[in-house]
């Protein structure tokens, strides 16, 4: 077939996809930029009035809530990613051996990842409950605490409690990717190191870890990108409370936009959030390319 004719076909074939992406992704993105510079507030008339960078200035210089939420977003992201990396890596190391039922164990350990967010959140609320929750029941029964711990209602504990849920949800991805990366570690090197008298930690640090480092960087950045923009879990578990203790950027954007109906201001905060995500994404793409080059270099 003539290549020109084929090319014309191609445009027909991508047309529906292109139309949908344009209407529901591209137009909204442009609109987000515009809206973030418009009045767009229930409190004031004339929603389309141009206000320039006023919303950005308000978020950055006038109100504490943006910086507070950014800080909590950082804690939430770092805590979740570090926790799930450690859990995922430990499990990968544990399962990195030739045993019967390996595939079954791998499948079982992946399950938390596929549970719908709403089920995850409700189920952990049930576990965390102060009157009838199983965790508090066991803690009291074994005499570890005298009165129930308010996991989600105590401002000092709420962040740690929601992070634990995200770790439970995120570790499977880390685990399965690291397990695959561990296949690249040559067994002979391990044996040689063992003969040379290297301990378990030294073998991990100097033999295993260098082989899984590029993968670790990539997967932790990816985990950070996912966690940073996660809305569902925090919203469903605490709604950003108590007393803003778990108010992260996504819940802040949602509340400003759909509760306070300050759409312009909410979008401006969303755009600032996007900037942070772009930085993470650039780091991710860079790590991805470096890892690719390493692989090519090793192959040569």
């Amino acid at each position: 077939m003539l290549s020109k004719q084929r090319a014309r076909y191609a445009y027909f074939l991508i047309l529906p996809a292109l139309a949908l992406i344009t209407l529901l992704k591209l137009v909204p993105t442009v609109e987000a930029v515009l809206v973030s510079m418009q009045q767009q507030s229930m409190m004031r008339p004339n929603p389309e009035a141009f206000v320039g960078f006023a919303h950005y200035a308000r978020a950055l210089f006038e109100e504490e809530i943006f910086w507070g939420s950014l800080r909590r977003s950082a804690v939430w992201t770092l805590g979740s990613v570090a926790g799930s990396y450690i859990v995922g890596l430990s499990l990968a190391l544990l399962l990195d051996r030739e045993i019967r039922g390996r595939t079954a164990f791998r499948a079982l350990l992946l399950v938390p990842w596929v549970i719908p967010d709403v089920a995850t959140a409700l189920l952990w609320k049930w576990l965390y409950g102060d009157q009838v929750g199983i965790i508090n029941f066991l803690l009291v029964k074994f005499g570890l605490v005298t009165k129930p711990i308010l996991f989600l209602a105590d401002p000092a504990l709420a962040m740690a409690s929601v992070i634990l849920v995200q770790v439970w949800k995120l570790y499977p991805v880390m685990f399965v990717v690291l397990l695959a990366a561990l296949q690249n570690v040559p067994r002979e090197l391990h044996e040689a190191a063992e003969i040379d008298g290297a301990g378990a930690w030294q073998r991990f640090r100097f033999v295993t870890f260098p082989f899984i480092r590029p993968t670790s960087v990539i997967i932790t950045l990816l985990g950070a990108i996912w966690t940073f923009q996660n809305f569902d879990l925090v919203y469903l578990l605490t709604g950003g409370g108590p007393a803003d203790a778990t108010e992260v950027l996504p819940t802040l954007v949602f509340k400003k936009g759909f509760w306070a109906l300050e759409i312009g201001y909410a979008t401006a905060i969303g755009m600032l959030m996007l900037l942070c995500l772009v930085a993470l994404s650039v780091a991710y793409l860079y790590a991805y390319r470096v890892a690719g080059q390493d692989k090519e270099g090793a192959a040569r």
């Binding site: 076909y9 909204p28 030739e98 089920a119 695959a180 590029p214 991805y288």
Partner: protein
């Protein structure tokens, strides 16, 4: 797929063998693994176990691990005494229709990118990649305004459109990989016989890409089935609620009715778990392909 066979072969070759001459060591490894799995999966066990308990046992002073008296009462109450069935069918409808749309739309687009050289091919690929990075919490505000203008707020159409658009980048990317794996010679032979591009696609490529289409369909379905934020923003009437927001609203509507909530949470999880176990291998590969190449 041949890749998976090779991968599992590789696993067998390089993984450290457990020394079965020392049965105690092997037993220790199994013991540790099983304890860890039990610990990690406990929350899911607890959800299911709670859903089979009668209300009196659920809130009894002394908590029981397994129901002393097994009952389907909470499932019956949630299905007959609440709007749960409405939410369930709404979710099913929205997920099924958006899956259909995204499979059909993405298979043509993916084929074009995989096989045809055209100006803008690269740009189209980049557009898909970049728009995938937009956080939903930012996207949902202007999308709300777009839907308002199109008079689609509080309709399932809004959700179906949004879910299709959101899953497109991923489905196109995944299907493209499947199409590229099919040998091009098959198409050349048909082209020489005078078959048109679309005939070739429908008669030769699609039948061969069956597993790929199934994988893409399940990904789209699960994604739509689980989606929370867009549904929360677009839908206002209870009769249109999907499962995630319907179930979340149980918290206010039926405070302390954990029997209903756990039964509902178990039901929403079942289809997802079923698809996952069915597609486990593809999902793992998709993850590995996405995060680390090779």
């Amino acid at each position: 797929m041949t890749g998976s066979a090779a991968a599992s072969q590789e696993i067998r070759d390089t993984a450290r063998p457990v020394d079965f001459r020392r049965p105690l060591a092997a037993a220790a490894v199994y013991f540790v693994l099983m304890s860890v799995v039990a610990f990690i999966l406990f929350p899911i066990f607890w959800m299911v176990s709670s859903s089979f308990k009668p209300q009196t046992e659920l809130f009894a002073r002394d908590i029981t691990m397994l129901p002393v008296e097994w009952t389907l009462e909470s499932y019956r109450s949630v299905w007959q005494g609440t709007a749960f069935p409405t939410y369930f069918w709404n979710s099913f409808k929205v997920a099924a229709l958006s899956t259909l749309c995204s499979v059909v739309i993405s298979m043509y687009a993916a084929y074009a990118i995989a096989r045809i050289r055209f100006a803008g091919r690269y740009a189209f690929g980049m557009l898909l990649l970049i728009t995938q990075m937009l956080p939903h919490i930012l996207l949902v505000i202007p999308l709300f305004l777009v839907m308002q203008r199109l008079k689609l707020l509080n309709t399932h159409t809004a959700l179906i459109l949004a879910y299709t658009a959101v899953s497109l980048p991923f489905t196109v990317w995944l299907l493209r990989g499947f199409f590229e794996a099919i040998p091009e010679e098959l198409e050349d032979a048909a082209a020489i016989d005078g078959a048109s591009l679309l005939t070739i696609f429908h008669r030769i490529i699609l039948p061969l890409a069956g597993p790929g289409l199934a994988a893409v369909a399940m990904f789209s379905f699960i994604r739509a089935w689980n989606e929370f934020l867009f549904a929360l923003v677009f839908l206002q009437s209870r009769v249109f609620f999907t499962l995630p927001i319907g179930l979340a609203s149980f918290q206010e509507e039926f405070t302390f009715r954990w029997d209903l909530i756990m039964a509902g949470a178990s039901i929403i999880t079942v289809p997802v778990l079923f698809f996952f176990l069915l597609m486990q291998r593809f999902i793992v590969q998709g993850l590995l392909g996405g995060a680390v190449k090779g």
